[in-house]
């Protein structure tokens, strides 16, 4: 593969990594969220404090992509080798601003399903469930979600609401008892990047990948997607980003299988 060509999974990870600012803490899930956070730390966000629900806080530099957020290398030269209670409590008391998740289905308010497809008792497919997702989506102030973009996944009504987004809209999280001023921040997909409209908490298209039209993104979304007046085109991954992703973030090719 030449330096200038890249796969869709790499494009998503690069786009997601750019959404993470420096000098913040992020609580990451296994897979693409972890890859994107590790890439951010090795490029524009060297002070990013990576936190893992199994107990690790702030590994200095990951030698490869951990296959789970519990893998031993997450505590190498770390700030804490704590417990799940310790890490989740950091998020509960407001110290971890960003949460980074995947999901199987999402609705217009950024609510996520990672539990079942179909009827709960007679499912078509059974996913692992919340894991730490419900906790991360409840407690972090800014949740970033990364997932494939199509009508089966971007749906009007979730088969199961595993992790809270903005629930039913403005004020719903607060009414449910969730911490105030928290909720989904970005959704990075195979087609572009969405945010949430401050007035309605509904999903809004902010950025698109090159070669993807706004019409195509609307077409692949099963609910009414708001569109920003100024939809930016996302810059292609740089050679530097791709090289660091392939050689330093994921040298044993865990992302290659996705």
């Amino acid at each position: 593969m030449s330096e200038t060509s890249y796969r869709l999974v790499e494009l998503m990870v690069v786009a997601a990594s750019r959404e993470l600012p420096d000098n913040q803490a992020v609580l990451v899930g296994t897979g693409m969220p972890l890859a994107a956070a590790a890439l951010a730390k090795k490029t524009h966000a060297p002070n990013l404090l990576m936190c893992f629900e199994a107990g690790a806080v702030g590994p200095d530099s990951l030698p490869r992509l951990p296959l789970t957020v519990g893998e031993g290398i997450t505590v190498e030269r770390a700030a804490e080798a704590a417990s799940m209670l310790g890490v989740m409590s950091m998020a509960a008391r407001g110290l971890i601003k960003y949460g980074f998740l995947g999901g199987a289905q999402i609705d217009q308010y950024g609510n996520l399903n990672s539990t079942v497809i179909g009827d709960y008792h007679h499912p078509k497919y059974r996913f692992p469930g919340s894991g730490g997702a419900n906790d991360i989506g409840s407690l972090c102030t800014h949740t970033i979600i990364i997932m494939k973009h199509d009508k089966q996944r971007f749906v009007k009504k979730l088969d199961f609401l595993t992790t809270p987004g903005y629930l039913t809209g403005v004020g719903a999280r607060e009414r449910a008892g969730l911490p105030k001023n928290s909720g989904p921040f970005r959704v990075v997909t195979t087609l572009g990047v969405m945010g949430f409209c401050p007035d309605t908490k509904k999903m809004i298209l902010l950025k698109r990948f090159a070669g993807v039209s706004i019409g195509q993104i609307i077409e692949e979304t099963g609910f009414e997607l708001l569109v920003s007046d100024n939809v930016e085109e996302i810059k292609a991954p740089t050679q530097n980003e791709l090289q660091i992703l392939r050689e330093s973030v994921d040298p044993n090719g865990a992302l290659d299988m996705k």
Partner: protein, 340 residues
């Protein structure tokens, strides 16, 4: 306002009653330092019964209690309820061996960042053979902390507003100080905790290298605690560094020496995942017949845990996993594992 408070539609599948736990502890636990080193066969026979609620230690495929699971399967234990506080390969082989009838799910039926999932859980749910309820990972951490504090519930600011809550055994409450809504999570007092650790002494003191997950509180909250350890060390190791003791002897009922006890899962600082064996297992799950054959061949037709390790991995592979953990060699490329 209190009339509007919601309740999860399921009931907790373990006891949340502190007084029955206190009575049990006072009648069954000793604070004397007694030697507890036994075989895994005896530990499982003596301390794990059919129908028990079991909390497995570690985090999915990291520091898993595989040598204990081997023995549970070999002894044909049935109708266990498992705390799915991130369970992965450990739960999956128990399901494959028909040892489990209920799971309190936070993360279950998944295999982290592997390109394949086991369909065993889905199959059992569809056939009506497996009851599941929904929780989140932090809710297990909170529930075990609540039990370790001798309480019946703890308040939390997650689960709220979701189907995860609706399908759990949690309830909403109002804080008497702020009048804010909380999720009340029932304390979790498991019948048995099984925890694999890096080193223990014969009395049950334990050190864990790396993250603890919720194993400190799981050991305090459970009626029976079975420890398996990569290494048994002298008591002096604990006496000179008491701040490193994650689990103290008075919580523990049995200590078992189990080198490579987490295999084919990882043991932080000691050995890496056997990706070839995890792939081998996941491929076997695609057919019922193949999976039955796998359990028969590797669990029932091997003599003991050491024989299992030899039959599946052999010394050369085990030593390679140690070398990966020590950074003497690189882990395999994931595509080489799956294309093999």
């Amino acid at each position: 306002m209190n009339n509007d408070l919601k309740k999860g539609k399921n009931t907790p599948l373990a006891s949340y009653d502190p007084d029955s736990f206190r009575d049990w502890i006072q009648n069954n636990k000793s604070i004397n330092k007694l030697p507890k080193l036994v075989s895994m066969q005896k530990a499982i026979q003596d301390f794990l019964k059919d129908g028990d609620y079991v909390k497995l230690g570690g985090f999915g495929q990291v520091r898993a209690s595989m040598s204990a699971i081997y023995e549970i399967i070999k002894q044909g234990k049935k109708n266990l309820t498992i705390a799915g506080h991130t369970t992965s390969h450990d739960l999956d082989v128990l399901l494959a061996a028909d040892a489990v009838s209920q799971v309190e799910v936070a993360y279950s039926f998944g295999h982290e960042f592997r390109p394949m999932r086991s369909p065993v859980g889905l199959r059992l749910i569809k056939e009506g053979k497996l009851k599941v309820t929904e929780w989140s990972n932090a809710s297990f951490a909170w529930r075990l902390k609540g039990a370790s504090m001798g309480l019946s519930f703890v308040p939390a600011r997650f689960m709220l507003g979701t189907d995860t809550f609706n399908f759990s055994g949690a309830r909403e409450i109002i804080c008497p100080f702020t009048m804010q809504k909380y999720a009340a999570l029932p304390a979790l007092y498991p019948d048995v905790a099984i925890i694999h650790v890096n080193r223990a002494d014969i009395y049950g003191n334990c050190q864990i290298d790396g993250m603890i997950v919720s194993d400190d509180d799981a050991a305090r909250a459970s009626r029976r605690v079975i420890i398996s350890a990569e290494k048994i060390v002298d008591e002096e190791v604990f006496l000179k560094d008491p701040d490193r003791t994650v689990i103290s002897y008075y919580n523990v009922d049995a200590v078992v020496l189990a080198p490579f006890g987490s295999y084919p899962c990882e043991m932080p600082g000691q050995y890496w995942f056997d990706e070839y064996e995890i792939a081998n297992y996941l491929k076997a799950t695609s057919s019922d017949a193949e999976l039955k054959n796998y359990i028969k061949k590797y669990y029932h037709e091997t003599q003991n845990w050491d024989d299992y390790l030899q039959k599946i991995a052999g010394n050369k592979r085990l030593q390679d996993l140690v070398k990966i953990a020590k950074k003497e060699i690189n882990p395999p490329l994931i595509k080489d594992v799956w294309e093999k």
